[in-house]
Each structure stands twice: as C-alpha cells, then as structure tokens.
Symmetry: C2
Subunit: 471 residues, 2 copies
C-alpha cells in the first residue's frame, strides 16, 4: 500500500484530504453530540506541546494562571451590549440541575470575559495591584452548525487571558506583547508557520473590543486561518462590571483591559500549513515522536541494534519510539508513521544490520539515505535540526507565491480564489469590504505597507488590507 492510496490528494479535494489525514493520523474523531470532538492521543500530545510552550511564554509576561467556572448566569452576558449580541446565537443553555429546573438558566461559557470581570471588580481596589494579569486553560462551547474537527467545533480547548491596567497605553502595549512574543513568535519559531500580524477591521473585531489584533496563517489551499487574537477592550467591560481603582492621584478610575486567546484550532493550522499528500509533516518541537526506529523483521541482532539506537537517542533527549510490531507489514507501518508526520525514521532490516547500515528517512522532503549504523544516532539528530526551518521556508515561499498586490476590489476578489490579495485600505473602504464579504472573501488584517503593525495615528493611505477566503 502506498501512502498516496490512503489519502485523497490535496489537489483533488483539499477538505477531503483534511478529513482523511485527521482520521488516518488518529488525531481526532467526531463526538456523539453534533460538533463535539474526541481528541485522540496523537492529536492531544501535539496540543500538550503547544500548551507547554505557550504557557511558559504567557508566564514570562507576568500573567498567572487561574480557573473560573464553566457555568455563567445568563444575566452576566447581557451586561455588555455588543458582547451578548455576538455570542447569543451560539450559546448552550443548562436549564436543569440536580433533578430540578433551575430558577435562572445558566450558560456554558462561550468565553469568560463576563465572569472573570465580575471577579476583577471585587479584587481590584488600588493602582498598586495593577496590572492584574490572569490566564486560564479551559474548554469553551459555541454551538456550531457547520462543524469541522479542530477548525470549528462546538466545544474546543483554549487559553484565554484577561488583564486590567491603569492606562490605555499600558493595556495597548500588553496586548501587543502577547500578540508578538507569545503568539506570533510561537507560531513562527515553533509551529514553523510564517503568520502575518495585523489589526482587524471594525467589522471583524471581537464582540466588545476596541481593537483586535490577529495572527493569520496561509494554508496549503491558499485560504487564511486566524490562529490567535489579542484584544484591547478599552473600558467597555470595566464600565459594564464596575472595575474601578483608587488611582495614584487620589481619584477613582475605570481600568483599561485586554483579552487574548489561542485554541485547538492551531492543530488544524499545523495540519493544513505543512501537510502533504502523504500526511502530516510535523516540526520536531511539536512532534510527540521525533524519531521512530522501525524494525523491519524482529531478528535478535536487529532488535538489539534498534534498542541501542533508541537508548542513544533517548539519552540525548530525543523523543524516540521503537516500532517492532512485525506482525504488521513493514510497508503498512512505514505509511502509518508517514501519515502521522514523524520527522525522522530509521529503518533497520537484517540485511542493513549485516551490512552495518540503516536507512535514514526524513519526512519533510521524503529523502532516504543509507547511513553507517555507528553514525545513525548522530545523523538522525542532525536531520532533526533543519526540519523546522525548512518547513517555515516552504510555507513562506508558498505564501509569497500566492499573494498578489491588487489595485481594485474586483481584482482582490479574483486573487482571493487562490491565495491572499493585498490592496490599499483606501481602495478597499467599507463598501469594498461588504462587497468582498458577499462573495465569501474577508479582510484578514490591516498592516502597514511594509508588513508592520499599524499605529493608532497611521492614515488609511499608509495602510493595506490583506483579503482572502478563510476557515
């Protein structure tokens, strides 16, 4: 069985390829309740690595983790007008608890601004306690009519940060620090996805925010995927939830706030930014297994050599696994590791061992080279070194080759059939955005012409809009 035969080719039907790879790599299954998802061990191990890296970065900014309840009184949602309007259509509502009908129905959190800010209101007293920087890892629920595993699911896992600051400038700087040093840098250096960063248009803003910043990745079908957002909330929630503090001048002020989140959607991005017709291609930093030692036949000298190699790699902190399930054909097992995206395979057969060699296979470029057994461990480690950078380079070349500068809204709509289109923000305008939306194209972000972040005083004439079809 060749790898090609088990997955629909990307060029034939990209969504079918995605579905195939999620199933065949054992990443996830559909749950029994519409739109829910079972994250299988291979998918969850990738998520754990994403979590660990992001959690460290979040803590480096000074934020502390906490946990707020899943259930929110319905009335809380109504305190911020735009927020409730944005989330009402997606809510799951609990009406019965402990065998009785509840007096007030409770909603399952779609996001936690309302409940967290109700507590910020109690906790924040003085400017001395600010900034208050809180993060939580949690599940949230947004009822999804057209679900897709990892990309749009009724329940998903994420982190959500919520902060309160003494000034607008401090809140703004923190929202950008999260955008850049937590999200964008993680996506570029760990996920190997060269995201664009920019500001959302008012139409695409988070419900209740004054500014939404975003990281946008290009998938291998040319579509965009929003991979994380960081919001400045102004004083909207502070006023709705009465978050005031004694300021340094002896008065009372409303806090300035931010919120920011990244979810299991990033797993979908990882799949679609790097995967090929043979399956996943994982950057080594996120691969649950970095090197698999594949025993072709379980003869004693082969198994001994496999154990020696695995021990050597394990001692060098490589995540290594031996596959000696020789009751299953070698070809089938090779295809399985290929689909799962393990960066490096060391294949060991009786003839190899007799000849003092192993076959080193690198997943990202499909190269197979014989290596001396004595060097196999070192060569495998060396092969891992370059994988992340190579995947990032490929992804960046793809994005560049599928991005067109255009001079009109109509050209932008056409260019978005195959990738990203970049046009002057003045050329676009609110009418142009509406016109694009009606053909399924959205503004992904607004940037400076050089790709930098727009400042609050930049005139539209200095800015561009990146438009695309999106997940």
């Amino acid at each position: 069985m060749s790898p090609q035969s088990i997955l629909t080719p990307q060029s034939e039907d990209f969504p079918a390829w995605y579905q195939d790879v999620v199933a065949r790599a054992e990443m996830a299954d559909n749950g029994p309740v519409r739109g829910t998802m079972v994250i299988r061990p291979w998918g969850y191990a990738i998520w754990e690595r994403m979590q660990a890296d992001l959690d460290r970065r979040i803590k480096d900014t000074g934020a502390l983790n906490a946990y707020f309840p899943l259930f929110i009184p319905e009335s809380y949602l109504h305190k911020e007008a735009e927020h409730v309007e944005g989330f009402s259509p997606e809510l799951a509502v609990v009406t019965h608890g402990g065998g009785k009908e509840l007096e007030e129905p409770v909603v399952v959190r779609p996001t936690s601004e309302t409940i967290i800010n109700a507590y910020f209101s109690k906790w924040v007293q003085s400017y001395r306690e600010l900034p208050l920087l809180i993060n939580q890892w949690a599940n949230v629920v947004r009822w999804e009519l057209r679900p897709r595993l990892f990309l749009r699911t009724t329940e998903f896992l994420w982190q959500e940060g919520h902060t309160a600051h003494v000034s607008e400038a401090d809140a703004g700087a923190y929202a950008l620090r999260i955008l850049q040093s937590v999200y964008a840098d993680f996506m570029r250096s760990v996920m190997a996805v060269p995201v664009l960063v920019g500001r959302k248009t008012p139409k695409e803003r988070f419900a209740g925010a004054t500014t939404t910043w975003t990281c946008e990745g290009m998938m291998r079908d040319g579509k965009a995927l929003q991979m994380a957002t960081s919001h400045e909330l102004g004083q909207n929630f502070a006023k709705a939830f009465d978050i005031t503090f004694a300021d340094a001048e002896g008065g009372q002020s409303y806090a300035w706030q931010t919120s920011w989140g990244a979810s299991t959607r990033m797993i979908g991005a990882l799949i679609m930014a790097h995967g090929d017709d043979n399956g996943l291609r994982l950057p080594p930093d996120l691969a649950p297994v970095q090197v698999v030692v594949l025993v072709v036949r379980d003869e004693p000298e082969v198994v001994a050599e496999a154990n020696r190699l695995a021990a050597e790699l394990g001692a060098a902190s490589v995540r290594v696994q031996i596959d000696d399930r020789t009751a299953t054909s070698f070809g089938r097992r090779a295809v399985e590791w290929e689909v799962k995206g393990v960066p490096v395979r060391l294949e060991l057969g009786p003839r190899d061992v007799a000849a003092g060699t192993a076959t080193l296979v690198t997943r990202h470029d499909g190269a197979k080279v014989p290596v001396p057994l004595s060097e196999a461990g070192a060569r495998a480690r060396a092969a891992l070194e370059g994988v992340g950078a190579q995947l990032a380079r490929e992804a960046e070349e793809m994005r560049l080759s599928r991005t067109r500068e255009v001079a009109s809204v109509e050209e932008g709509r056409e260019a978005a059939e195959g990738g990203f289109a970049v046009m002057g923000l003045e050329v676009l305008g609110a009418e142009g955005e509406a016109a694009l939306n009606s053909s399924g194209v959205t503004v992904r972000c607004v940037q400076r012409r050089d790709g930098g972040l727009p400042g609050p005083d930049d005139p539209d004439s200095d800015l561009v809009a990146v438009v695309a079809r999106a997940y």
Copy 2:
C-alpha cells in the same frame, strides 16, 4: 496584627477555620452559580504542581492523554444500570443549543466512563492493541446541594483514567499500580499526607465498579477525606458498550476495565492535613513560592542584598519571590506569607544588613533564627530540605494518636467522634455498617490487619475496617 487574629482557631470551629484560610490565602472564591468555584492563582499554582507530578507518574505507567467531549447524550448514561442510578440525581442538563431546543437533551459529563467506552468499542479490535490506557484532564459537573470549596463543588477539575485489558488479572494489577505508584506514593512523598490505602465496601463502591480501591487521609479535625480512587470495572461497561476484541486463541472476548481519578479535592486535603491556626503549611514540592525574601524597609542596601539573595536562590532552582511592597506594613506582609504557607522566609531589615545578618523563619515550626547574610541562601535551601518529611511525620503522629482499635460497632461509633476506629470486618458486618451510617460514620476502607491491601481470597476474619466521619 497577629496571624491568630485573622483566622478562626481550628479548635474553636474547624469548618470556619477552613473557610477563613481558603479566603485569606486567596486560594478560591465561590462562583456565582451555586456550588461552582473560582480557583485563584495561589490555589491554581498548587494544582499545576499536583498535575505535573501526577501526569508524569501516569505517563510512566504507559497511559496516554486524550480529550473527550464535555457533552454526553443522555441515552449513554442509561446503558449501565448502576452507573445511571448513581449519577442521575447530580446531572446538569443542556436543553438548548444555538438558540434552539435540542432534540435529545445532553448531559454535562459527571465522569466519562460512558462516552469513553463508546469510543473504546470502536477502537479496540484485537488483543494486540491491548492494554489501551487513556487518561484525560478535564472539568466535570455533579450538582452539589451542600457545596464546600475544593471539597464538594458542582464543577471540579480532575484527571480520569480509563483502560481496557485482555484479562481480569491484568486489569486488577493495573488498578493497583495506579493506586500505589501514582496516587498513594504522590500523596505520601509529595503532599506529605500519610494516606491509608484499602478497598471500599460494596456500599461505598463506585457506581458500576466491581472493586474500588481508595486513598484515605486524616484531616486535623480527625475526619477522613477520600483523596483518590482506582476502580476495577470487571466487564460491566465492556458488555454495556460492546467492547470486544479478537483474542489470541481466535475467539471474541469482552475487555476487562479500570477507571481511576483524583481531583482538586486534593487541595482541600492539603489545607486540612497540614494547616494550623496561622494558615497553610505547604510542602516545598507543591509551594508556588518556596522562599520569600521580605524587605522590611526599601533602603538601597537592603534591596541590593535581597536581589542578590533571590538571584542566588533562583540560580539554585529555588522558587523565590522578593516582597518589597513597603507601602504595606512589614507585619501585615509577614502574616500574609504565613497564611499562604510559604515554607521559608528570609527577613531583611536595615539593621540586619548593617549587622550582616538576616532572619530565617521556617513556616512549619515557626522557628526564627538569625543567620549570617553570607550563608543565608544556603541556610534557606537547607531549611527547605527537611520540611516535607517533618510535615509527613507530624501528620502520621496525629493519625496514629487519633486511631483506636475497637471491639464493637458502638465503640467504633464513639471513637469516630475524634478520629479513626479500626475493627474486625467480621465485627462490623453489613448491619454494623448500616448502623454506623445512620450516625454519620462511614467505612473508609478495608485492609489487612497489618495495613496491607486485602487479597481477593482473604477471609473477613483476616481483615479490618477503618471507620470515621468523613468529608
């Protein structure tokens, strides 16, 4: 302000002391929906350390993490008769999603046996894939009428493991491995709580299990707290969910299963097993901050010395924090760290620094000793070394001094007013258990006379029951 004045003394009103310490140590708050809980950063940081240690131990047994949906079709619960009977009174039910009434209501998971076993049924085909060892970290909901922070909350955080095996012996051995090497060893060596391990009586068994194993700790009011359980499920769920596999002999067999869990309840245990009238006493392995360097007055030479000490301790991988909030009185800050249970304080004032000394305060025994500044870092590290063992010793001495061997059910009832009572299992009998239950005393676990675990063939005459009032 002395520490004593901010907490109700334990001897006066233990539940009030508990409530005070949870609030004053900023561990948790009540949520707005009855029985829910906000875990504040100090409480959550302890939970993260518990999670990290348990997660490593769970993975060492070969289990893999995964994630299953929060929402379970109501019909799933009905597939195992005892299970649905056990959980029905506690369910939260979602009747509306996405603005519409649902065709079939869904329940919020109270535990995940049903949904996980529905997938095991799909995944398990051959004995070659067994054992299947899965764990998940998740929130669960059991509607709670008499909630208490950490101890009984409508929503709580936990891990739940679910496994399938080829034989009863294999499942049984695995359930015990989890009990001992994951739970009991963690509680004894990391939490410093000398738990008793044993078997639950049929009356106290998990709904759907054939055997339930438990870890029971004694709190400082003499009551018991169940800190984790590990269940053998026999083939009950395998038959209800049709989990069959092709066995090595060419036939089809039902799998043998286990499940096991430990929750945020352990935080309540940590508080009540070690806390005193001045607040928490944390074992260093779980303390978010192990050493606090307390600056009495923020004069330059004092701050410089505090920074030097913190850097030295940080470089030695000690979790250290400087408290230089000199706008707040020194006494008040000292009390705060005392309540929060930080194991070691280094207090630095201008006179200390001028004299070349610091004051080293150890939380667990309240000792204060002057130490030369040049040795302060090393002395603080040395002080941390013994804390866990000392807390464990104290907790064990307390348990031994409050445990009585008794010869009748009535004596057991009386002894349980102040601690644990141990009686022959034959003396107890089913009638005795019912009699104890009616006075609020329960059988915590069944053990061999030497404290060992009962074997399947041990006659009742060789076994004892440990009975107590319990949380």
